[in-house]
């Protein structure tokens, strides 16, 4: 007897309706502050949904607690506003129970990397097929302005009025070190790239982590200005493209090469260096990914944006399904009565 859940899992879709982004807007006011970076993320997520190739009812958004974690309320799909830090564990259970769903997690830098840190690293390791969007505003916003594990050393926040002592995580290094298979970074003010990254994350079979620099106009306004402002962004960031050399700068005249095991900036106009010296990005090279991520936090080096790594390996949820199929293949269809009886029973007559 197939269960209702099995029916849903196995349902075949002949033609999925043609959606527009509007179909994914929930009928509710978005309660973020005017100017919040979240709006840009929401718009891009809603833009890519129609083309996922997934019927609306098969999409689920899970979140924790925070301004960012209000996200599911704004999406007209299945939504689960969880508790602080637990979105990824909830989503893991959901995805394993329901591999047919497209499972997304919206989370903040605190929700994801502070209280949720343990679930994050283990979900990376297991490679559960979940798409995570981490709204990084380098602050706790919903609770009105305390330091997050991504806040800067020395930063004055409500919980560090005399200057923050903690060193922050390098968030992409953390997830790479934990075994994440897809890692990318974008920012709220570049909607085109965001859209691309969300599409890539959706397509990636396995755990996909997208960090988004998200301006909080109230509690940490301008935290990412250096990387997003027209005047500075060309020098302070580098856009990664698979197969392309690492070139940056407003005039495309700077590059990154390896000096021993360390990346350094070279001037392409210095008559000494050429494009051939430069690192060529390869999304499938795990060591390169570590180098690029590590470089993000190095003084004098631009911050890589885009897809840092995209390496597929079997996902946890599909392995669960395979193991069940394999067991049934080997041992036959289940017989509960036999299970109850066990191997050492006796009869009383």
């Amino acid at each position: 007897m197939t269960t209702y859940v099995d029916q849903l899992i196995n349902k075949e879709y002949i033609d999925i309706p043609k959606y527009s982004p509007k179909d994914f807007k929930a009928d509710i006011d978005v309660r973020w502050c005017a100017g919040c970076g979240g709006f840009s993320i929401l718009a891009q997520v809603q833009r890519i949904m129609p083309d996922l190739g997934v019927p609306k009812e098969k999409i689920s958004f899970v979140s924790g607690i925070g301004c960012s974690s209000r996200f599911p309320y704004y999406m007209n799909v299945y939504g689960f506003h969880g508790i602080h830090g637990r979105a990824l564990a909830i989503a893991s259970g959901l995805k394993v129970a329901r591999p047919d769903l497209s499972v997304w997690v919206a989370t903040g830098d605190g929700d994801c990397m502070s209280i949720g840190g343990n679930h994050l690293i283990h979900t990376c390791r297991r490679n559960v097929d979940i798409n995570v969007i981490m709204f990084n505003n380098e602050i706790y916003s919903l609770t009105k302005g305390q330091a997050s594990p991504l806040s800067k050393v020395g930063q004055k926040t409500k919980s560090s009025p005399l200057g923050l002592l903690d060193d922050p995580f390098n968030p992409t290094s953390l997830v790479l070190g934990s075994g994440a298979s897809f890692v990318a970074r974008g920012y709220d003010k570049d909607p085109g790239q965001l859209k691309y990254l969300f599409e890539r994350a959706a397509k990636h079979k396995g755990f996909a982590f997208v960090e988004v620099y998200t301006n909080c106009v109230i509690f940490n306004d301008g935290a990412f200005e250096e990387y997003t402002r027209r005047e500075t962004k060309f020098e302070s960031t580098i856009m990664l493209e698979h197969g392309k050399p690492l070139i940056f700068g407003e005039k495309h005249n700077k590059g990154i090469k390896m000096d021993g095991y360390r990346p350094v900036v070279v001037d392409l106009d210095d008559g000494i260096h050429s494009v051939n010296d430069l690192i060529v990005h390869n999304e499938q090279d795990s060591t390169l990914a570590l180098i690029l991520s590590d470089m993000s936090f190095m003084e004098g080096l631009p911050r890589p944006m885009g897809v840092i790594q995209a390496i597929e390996r079997p996902t946890y949820d599909e392995k669960v399904t395979w193991q069940i199929e394999h067991e049934i293949e080997v041992k036959g269809q289940p017989d509960i009565q036999k299970l109850l009886k066990g191997s050492d029973s006796w009869e009383i007559n």
Binding site: T3, V5, Y73, G79, L101, V320, I324, E327, I336, E347
Partner: protein, 613 residues
């Protein structure tokens, strides 16, 4: 030589030795053989918390106790009739439980100077007359098996390892049991190692023969089969009963089962069993911690699985926040807590009944939840199925309390016919018309269950208070009051869907014993004994703690005094007094082990005599 046959209703044997002496196996064999003969059987393994404690030490003693009889045994037995002691430490640790005139079979090889020193004996108890109140049979079993197997070609180590089978053979003879079942088992186990098999069989039989020919051991005990219902039987521990109960309930509900868990003694075996059931379509995740265990289960429940999380005290403490989430989400979830002795790490391998408070009241905010308790290892199966039924029917998390004693102890269990277990109906919402996630069933107050994948029912839920009906986030004051009251009433209302309590004994009178969970067995045995002495005492054994059965108050009011024995400092007492304002006489044992029947009996006799004064 003529043996003296003594007919017994029931007896208790305990195999005790060093961790490496194979006592668990020996005890299991004895138990299986007895059960196969149609006896009622209860067993309890008792092993050190160290993985491999140093040889010969007091804290390294491992034991397995079997209580078997021609009537319901109820507990593994409190007084030992026969103690098999493979070394000095195992005698020292267990002697206090051997009844006067009980039999002690001692392996002399385990009473050498080194052993005596480790056991902190100055002189060998086998020689100093200190055991005069017992019937002691001491033999050098090591030497005997070496003799028996001198031509086997096995290493001394392998030879020595068979000594437990010699003791088992001896015990079989003493209780007049056949060797066949153990022979069969050995054959299955060592089929691929014929020399070992041969040696084991030989030693087992020689043990039996030695006893039957031995001049000293003239007594034989005989225990008739119990009057058991016809059917297929097996031994089952409480933990396996829970695992099987879950698979069975999932089958009856026609739902996929999902377990999110994290290992912890004494609950881990549930996870072990479940993780082997892949063939049955069961999914499980061993999560990074207990919080992940329960939250992954909540995620799976959201996705439409029959979701479960299993743990023990410290793990339950960690799940508290997420349990509150499940309450406000009104999603079905079964939380199994196998209680052990706290607080904190406490005595992690010992049972206790001290998680009733946290089960009832251990969440911030008003977060009521049904609480069930199993009363025996086999009852774990039924209460698991019941927990699933209530969770699914009322859309609520349910806590099932068992304890280390039920979980690891075993009983003979009549295997039920799956098809006789009632189906559990689950109605997933599918119709978008008029759908709202917090619309409720008028009878049960259960909310609608709409799961992802169902077209047209897309909606959002979460941990914020929500409007009744629509499920939208609501800060409306009256709505919050209403929702808190609905959640409470929904759980309270379950009282109408559970059996009323039945009184074992007179329906009214002077003294009523009220118990919950695993104290059940010891009380049953105490009452049996008291009745034989002519005392009329009544007993109510609770499987349901929240809500309490609807007739409980009325039943309690029919008695002058109420005694509540608990393995804690009075947790059910607090609950009953708060609910009914009826004074309770508490009897609190918190020693990492259960009440003995004798203790209960004594306590009751004391109360009865106080009355007489």
């Amino acid at each position: 030589m003529e043996k003296q046959i003594i007919e017994l209703e029931a007896a208790t044997i305990r195999f005790a030795g060093d961790s490496g002496d194979g006592m668990q196996l020996t005890g299991t064999q004895f138990s299986d053989t007895s059960a196969g003969l149609g006896n009622e059987v209860n067993t309890f393994p008792d092993y050190p918390s160290e993985i491999r404690a140093p040889e010969g030490t007091l804290y390294g003693v491992s034991a397995y106790q079997v209580h078997f009889g021609n009537r319901k045994t109820n507990t593994p037995g409190d007084e030992i009739d026969v103690l098999v002691a493979m070394n000095a430490s195992s005698l020292k640790v267990n002697l206090k439980h051997v009844r006067k005139n009980g039999i002690i079979i001692a392996n002399k090889a385990g009473f050498k100077d080194k052993n005596l020193k480790l056991a902190k004996y100055e002189v060998s108890p086998l020689e100093d007359g200190s055991l005069q109140n017992y019937q002691v049979f001491a033999y050098d079993i090591n030497e005997m098996v070496r003799n028996i197997l001198q031509d086997s070609g096995l290493s001394t180590k392998d030879v020595d390892r068979t000594k437990n089978l010699f003791a088992l053979g001896l015990a079989y003879c003493l209780f007049d049991r056949p060797l066949a079942a153990t022979e069969k088992w050995l054959t299955k186990k060592f089929g691929k190692k014929p020399e070992i098999l041969e040696a084991n069989l030989k030693v087992l039989r020689e043990g039996f023969n030695f006893a039957s020919e031995n001049q000293d051991m003239i007594v034989r005990y005989h225990i008739k089969p119990a009057n058991l219902e016809k059917g297929t039987y097996r031994n089952i521990t409480g933990n396996e009963a829970v695992a099987l109960g879950l698979v069975t309930a999932a089958n009856r509900a026609n739902m996929p089962l999902f377990l999110g868990s994290y290992p912890i003694t004494p609950a881990t075996e549930i996870l072990h069993h479940i993780s082997g059931y892949k063939q049955y379509g069961v999914k499980h995740m061993q999560m990074e911690d207990e919080i992940g265990g329960i939250t992954s289960a909540i995620g799976a429940a959201y996705g439409g699985a029959l979701a479960v999380t299993t743990t023990s005290g410290p793990g339950l403490s960690l799940k508290v926040e997420a349990m509150g989430l499940a309450v406000i989400l009104e999603l079905p979830l079964v939380i199994v807590d196998v209680q052990r002795a706290g607080p904190s790490t406490g005595l992690p391998t010992k049972p206790e009944q001290s998680d009733l408070y946290i089960a009832m009241w251990g969440r911030h905010g008003e977060a009521p939840m049904p609480v069930l308790a199993a009363t025996s290892s086999t009852n774990c199966f039924e209460m698991t199925v019941e927990a699933v039924r209530l969770a699914l029917k009322y859309m609520t998390p349910v806590i099932l309390l068992t304890d280390g004693y039920l979980a690891q102890g075993s009983e003979a269990w009549k295997v039920p016919d799956v098809n006789t277990i009632p189906e559990i109906k689950v109605n997933f919402a599918t119709n978008p018309e008029g759908f709202a996630p917090y619309n409720r069933d008028p009878e049960t107050q259960a909310r609608m269950w709409a799961i992802p994948g169902t077209p047209g029912l897309e909606h959002r839920i979460g941990g914020l208070e929500k409007e009744n009906g629509s499920g939208l986030v609501s800060h409306d004051p009256m709505n919050h009051q209403r929702m808190c009251e609905i959640r409470e009433a929904k759980v309270a209302n379950i009282a109408n869907d559970i059996p009323p309590v039945t009184v074992d004994g007179p329906e009214s009178g002077d003294l009523l014993v009220v118990s919950w969970g695993s104290t059940h067995g010891a009380i049953k045995n105490a009452l049996y004994s008291l009745r034989q002495k002519g005392h009329e005492v009544s007993h109510v054994s609770l499987n349901y703690i929240n809500p309490l059965p609807r007739n409980l108050e009325e039943v309690m009011r029919r008695f002058k005094r109420i005694l509540v024995p608990e393995m804690n400092l009075g947790q059910l007492k607090t609950l009953l007094q708060a609910k009914y304002l009826i004074p309770i006489i508490g009897y609190h044992k918190i020693q990492g082990n259960t009440f003995t029947s004798k203790e209960i009996e004594y306590k009751i006799e004391q109360l009865l005599s106080e009355k007489e004064n």
